[in-house]
Amino acid sequence: MTTERNTPESVASGDSDALVTRTYREVADQCAPEHLNRAILEEATNAARPRYSRLIAWTRPMAWAATAILSVALVLELSKVPTPELGTFERDSGKFEVASPKTGLADDATTELLEESGSPAMPPGRASNADAEAPIQIESMKSGAKQSPFESGLEKRQRSGLQKVRVEEQNLPAASCSEEMTAAPATWLECIEDLETAGRAEEANQQRRQLQISFPDFELP
């Protein structure tokens, strides 16, 4: 037994002792348990199996394609400039025609503002630009629609113009009859009738009350 001792060179080079190796082999007879073998091979088989069967394998690329198409469609829809048929601008006459019926002072003021901006005094280049960008969305401006994050520069300018009109409406004078007209009851009454004719009934009533206070002897018709 001792004759199988390795040389010092072999041990120094990292080789195991031959006798030790042979003896160890004689006792190294353990094998992996069969139940572990089955479990591990089954696990390996399951891991190598594709996650999705071939029958439903097409659903994943289809889902990706559908998502991409919907995303593109949504972006295009949001970035598209709306084109309502509410109003048109006639460059020749310098007049803006509103298709919707007039609803009051706001309509008048808006029309006036647009007439001013589109008047013949406007530079030709600017008028042509306005013509190219027309028709203009008026209805959303009137109703004070929510500001869209995708609105164009033209829409912003239109909306700021509408806000200016509203401010001017709120700052209208309560009494539009001048002092010359209110000096005499007859001229004052004519002014009141003009206000009624113009549809400014509330202002006319106010002027009528002031007329009675200023001239209590005057009998109103």
């Binding site: 990292g14 195991s16 002792d17 190796t21 006792v27 992996a32 348990p33 390996a44 190598a48």
Partner: protein, 211 residues
Amino acid sequence: MVANVQIMTAVDLALSRRTELAYAPTMDKVPEDSALMLRYRDGDVAAFELLYQRHNDALYRYLFRRCQHRDAAEDIFQEVWGKIIKARENYRPTAKFTTFLYRVAHNCFIDHVRRNKRHTQIADVDPDNQPDPADLPEMQTERSLARHRLIEALRQLPDEQRDVFLLREEAGLSLDQIAAVTGANRETTKSRLRYATNKLRTAIDEPVGTP
């Protein structure tokens, strides 16, 4: 004449080395192991079965000798192969598969020891290596006693030395490969293997009747 003697010596050494390597069948089939692993990565389960059959028993013995406890060895054994299976998708044949496999096993064993601080206490008794009373007549023979003493000496080796010895004997790794698995440098690995071998040799050479 001198040349013939040198040639014969070289042939004998080669044959002796070949006999040793036969115990560790992975040594000369490393490329095939990597190829099998790559085939398994591509979904070839049969390749993994072949790979598993090559290494399962040696790996189990390595873990069994290191843990010195059957249940722990089985747990780690399953954990190691589970990690190999999970690592198939990212497997790159940059190193020999055997080195890769035993590095995973080495790390799993270390993790197991850290999880179970009583590792050294459960290793007191190994029922597989206790002498059966029915075998007592055979135990009287010198070879049986030598085997018994080898197991006892292997059990009493320091963990690092036992690790190096088992990697050498079970996995058939070279010093450099063992160093790569254990994270130690080559000289340390060489020293550990020499100490382990000497202790085991001394235990085997003890005279009959010595406990």
